[in-house]
């Protein structure tokens, strides 16, 4: 349920922000921005049968950006007093200087934001003993699946990130982002050596995440254990071009890589995307609709505003196979005379904002998932994919299979060992020939230009013709 909020994190007084922004423009800059952040992280690591470590940390600081023409100057500081901010402003302004800009008065206007959802119980308020107990239970459940489970690592993490953005266009906006994450990793040992399993869950909410059936600790631990156990019996993955059926929620990474990055305006404008100049054209099979939605309630990539103070929104990137738009940040939107889309994100106050995905979903279609499988003569069924990587210039991308099976005569048969798949984004989008009426999401950390941000991916059951499977079996 979206909720309007007027609360602004009390990090820097509005009159201080106005004076700092004024100082930023004294050397002739066109635009100035102060981004302040106060982040608290807590984590529990349960490893090798022990509570190995609890860690807590706090970081606070501000990044100051000045844009003059096509040049951006940036400096950051952990000193958010007026003196510290003015020093950062001076450094950023020196980099983007056009001479004397005179005195400009900035009047900030507080923009109330719509929180996509309510957070009930932030992890920072939960007793450490409860977090430890949760991790311990996951360890017990995972080990309880089989004596072959020889090692279990459980990670719990929570964070509270308060941000405040003010810029010379008068924007003043704030947001509080609470996230909770739980990860279980396992190692199983059998006659064929060791295998690993992994499952994770993360939401932009608090401790209430664990009340949901899908994020029950036992379910997460069982999945992580079973993935390793299944692979003990696995055979090497095949090598060559095959038909792939992706489980719902298993393959979002593929579209994140296959087209998501190529639809980021910065890469498009630098001529390093195969999707450049293709708005309005067919880039995917009919029925394929891809959206990026930073306002989707509770998801891992969700926030009320992006890290440039712009409200997040639902952006349709590909509609029924036709490319409709790219994703934008302030700088590229301004240059192209386009609206911002709420995709300007940064890892922390120490980084410049760049165009990033949030929650990227290939929407459900109309096919019955059971029919998709039964009508596939042979191929590979991907129950879960790992991470991936793309070269946006060629569109070539890879992603790893962490739980996969052979499909023989329309049925799932033997489990397969880990391997990467490789494909070409534009070709794969055109090669989707079945879209299920189901849907699920998964989480990850997306890396770009050295910055990591939380994202989620989602997809229905899908079939793709002709992806190269990088196994060793011939």
């Amino acid at each position: 349920m979206p909720v309007a909020t007027d609360a602004l994190p009390a990090l820097i007084e509005t009159d201080v922000l106005e004076r700092v922004l004024g100082a930023c423009l004294r050397t002739g800059g066109d635009f100035a921005e102060v981004f302040a952040e106060d982040r608290v992280n807590n984590s529990v690591l349960f490893d090798d049968g022990r509570v190995e470590e609890l860690s807590s940390g706090r970081e606070r600081g501000a990044g100051v950006r000045v844009i003059s023409g096509d040049t951006t100057g940036f400096a950051h500081t952990a000193d958010i007093s007026e003196r510290g901010l003015l020093a950062a402003a001076e450094a950023a302004a020196a980099a983007a200087s056009k001479g004397d800009g005179g005195v400009r008065t900035i009047a900030l206007k507080h923009r109330s934001v719509i929180a996509p959802h309510l957070v009930l119980k932030p992890g920072s308020g939960v007793a450490k003993a409860d977090k430890v107990a949760l991790a311990k239970r996951a360890d017990e459940v995972a080990r309880g699946r089989s004596g072959s489970i020889k090692q279990v690592t459980v990670g719990y993490g929570d964070s509270r990130r308060r941000i405040l953005v003010a810029n010379s266009d008068g924007v003043l906006a704030g947001d509080e982002q609470v996230r909770t994450r739980f990860v279980v990793q396992t190692v199983a040992t059998g006659d064929t050596g060791m295998q690993t399993g992994f499952h994770s869950a993360g939401k932009t909410i608090g401790w209430e995440m664990f009340d949901e059936e899908e994020y029950d600790i036992e379910v997460i631990a069982q999945r992580a254990a079973d993935r390793a156990l299944t692979k003990l019996k696995a055979r090497p993955a095949p090598s060559g071009k095959l038909t792939i059926v992706l489980n719902r929620g298993a393959g979002g990474t593929m579209f994140h890589e296959a087209c998501g990055h190529g639809l980021e305006a910065d890469l498009v404008m630098k001529e390093t995307s195969v999707f450049r100049g293709r708005v309005g054209q067919r880039v995917a099979a009919p029925g394929v609709t891809i959206v990026d939605d930073g306002s989707y309630p509770r998801e891992w990539g969700t926030s009320a505003i992006d890290d440039e103070g712009h409200p997040t929104q639902r952006n349709v990137l590909i509609e029924d196979g036709v490319l409709t738009d790219y994703m934008w940040d302030f700088r590229h939107a301004r240059k192209e005379g386009h609206g911002q889309s709420g995709n300007g994100r940064r890892q922390s106050y120490e980084c410049l904002p760049i165009v990033r995905m949030t929650n990227t979903y290939l929407l459900a279609g109309t096919d019955d998932p059971a029919n998709i499988l039964s009508s596939t003569e042979s191929g590979v069924y991907c129950a879960k994919l790992g991470g991936g990587q793309v070269d946006t210039a060629t569109g070539d991308f890879v992603f790893g299979m962490v739980e996969a099976y052979l499909i023989e005569n329309g049925e799932i048969t033997e489990p397969l060992r880990d391997a990467n798949l490789i494909g070409n984004g534009p070709e794969v989008l055109m090669a989707i020939d079945a879209i299920g009426n189901d849907f699920a999401t998964g989480i990850g950390t997306c890396g770009k230009d050295g910055q990591g941000v939380p994202v989620s991916d989602g997809n229905p059951t899908l079939r793709v013709q002709g992806i190269t499977v990088g196994g060793t079996a011939t």
Binding site: D47, V51, E52, E53, L54, S55, S56, G57, R58, E59, G61, G69, D70, T71, T72, G73, F74, A75, H76, T77, A78, A95, A96, A129, V132, Q151, V187, T189, G193, M194, Q195, T196, K231, A237, S239, G240, K270, E271, T272, V274, E350, L385, G386, G387, Q389, A393, D396, V398, F399, G400, V402, R417, D418, N420, I422, T468, G470, G471, T472, T474
Partner: protein, 454 residues
């Protein structure tokens, strides 16, 4: 900075009360980066950051309990609050007889020349000029270079200090500089990218021309690339790719992973794990290495560690906790590493290198005859499993035909297992070079790899 880092960590350690042990690690960094685009400055960033990580160890009858907390705010109040948080965190840990701080081991730290005063005073205008020169050289390098995704100059100073109640006191500082470019080569509708770089401790150690030539070569030679047919073949890894392979291998030789049952090399010390000509060393004392440092992340002196000699596995790297857990005569190898002030010391290699062979890169190609040169790989984190050893990565490169380089190839994977690859090394180049990262690279040929393509 108002207080010297070493004074600051000593002060925190002085706050220890009762039987508790404290270790304080402080880092101060200053970085600058210039990115240029089409002859103008695109971004100019300056960054200064400080932080302290505090580890508290509470001794007990069943073993010690460890807690950790960090702060980016170095005020007295913040440091005190961080210590209290670390103490509180320790009270929740399971007692463990092996957990604890490093004890001084008498190994003298080497004097390493890792700092250049010139970095602190190098004028911004000169940084901009170097980035612009790099962009100009890349554009001028080939008519098919239409633009660059980025051309940049970056430099940084890092200062680290550590102190503990166990009597450890260590500090060092180092500088680093680099230029980096990604060229975009086009021919008709086709676009290929390729990177080039040069690294050093100061700007005068950088070679902008070599960096530009590398970006030009790596992008233009991929134009016209096709998808190869699936087959089993010999793969030659270029030095940059080999460095990535060594980093993966280093992860499997981490003593903590071994003891926790997460390494494919557990119980294999003394066995022939690689071909007899393969010698792997972690040498953080080599000042050419990007990861060179006189002290590890627990304040012990770093040292040269032979890991594989004559193809035989010699041992693993350890920090003090993993060494105590291993027991017997195992001692820390000075291999505690941290990602920064926000984490506790883990275990890792810093400067992995293979003892070079006698063949030039051209001679390696000639010896291979027919195969594939891989110039870059992708999906390492998703396709290489350091526990099972399964290895499958996306690749691009050039065909090797009749002992020399042929047509460009893309959108294929190469797969095997880490165990098999070490035993199927057929040639080791003499072209060792240090790269930005924890390992050196050289040309390496491995036979029997599964290439999956069309």
């Amino acid at each position: 900075m108002t207080l010297e880092l070493s004074d600051l960590v000593r002060q925190v350690v002085g706050w220890a009360s009762g039987p508790e042990q404290i270790e304080a690690f402080a880092a101060h960094s200053r970085d600058a980066e210039v990115e240029v685009y089409q002859g103008g400055i695109e971004t100019l960033s300056t960054a200064e950051s400080d932080g302290v990580g505090i580890r508290v160890v509470l001794p007990g009858d069943d073993g010690a309990r460890q807690g950790f907390a960090y702060t980016g705010d170095l005020s007295q109040e913040a440091l005190r609050a961080t210590l209290i948080e670390a103490r509180d965190n320790a009270s929740f840990a399971t007692p463990d007889p092996f957990v604890g701080l490093a004890e001084p081991d008498g190994v003298a730290p080497a004097t390493l020349d890792l700092y250049r005063d010139s970095v602190a005073t190098f004028p911004t205008a000169d940084k901009i000029a170097m980035a612009l020169e790099l962009e100009r050289l890349v554009r001028a390098g080939d008519s098919r270079i239409k633009s660059l995704r980025t051309a940049s100059y970056g430099d940084g100073l890092l200062e680290v200090a550590l102190a503990s109640t166990a009597g450890i006191e260590a500090s060092y500082r180092r500088t680093g500089c680099s230029v980096f470019a990604i060229a975009i080569a086009s021919d008709g509708d086709e676009t290929q990218t390729g990177f080039g770089y040069s690294v050093g401790r100061a700007a005068d150690e950088l070679d902008v021309e070599t960096a530009a030539a590398m970006a030009v070569l790596r992008s233009t030679r991929m134009l016209g690339a096709t998808k190869p047919a699936s087959r089993r073949t010999t793969v030659v890894f270029d030095p940059y790719v080999t460095a990535t392979l060594l980093a993966i291998l280093g992860g499997t030789l981490n003593g903590e992973s071994v003891l926790k049952g997460r390494s494919l090399f557990a119980d294999r010390v003394g066995e022939q794990v690689a071909v007899p000509g393969f010698n792997l060393i972690d040498d953080p004392l080599d000042t050419e290495a990007y990861g060179a440092t006189p002290f590890d992340a627990e304040g012990l002196a770093t040292r040269r560690i032979p890991l594989i000699a004559g193809g035989v596995l010699g041992g693993f790297v350890h920090n003090s906790t993993s060494a105590r857990r291993a027991g017997g005569s195992t001692r820390s190898t000075g291999s505690a590493v941290r990602a920064g002030f926000k984490s506790t010391p883990g275990v890792g290699c810093r400067a992995l290198t293979v003892v070079p062979g006698s063949l030039s890169p051209e001679a390696v190609l000639a010896a291979v005859g027919d195969g594939v040169l891989v110039q870059s790989i992708s999906g390492v984190h998703s396709g290489v499993n350091p526990v099972s050893g399964d290895f499958s990565v996306g690749a691009e490169g050039l065909a090797i035909t009749g002992g020399s380089l042929g047509a460009p190839l893309r959108e294929f994977t190469v797969a095997s297992s880490i165990q098999r690859m070490l035993l199927e090394i057929t040639a080791i180049g003499n072209d060792v070079s240090w790269l930005p990262g924890g390992s050196a690279g050289l040309t390496l040929a491995i036979s029997g790899m599964s290439l999956s393509g069309a």
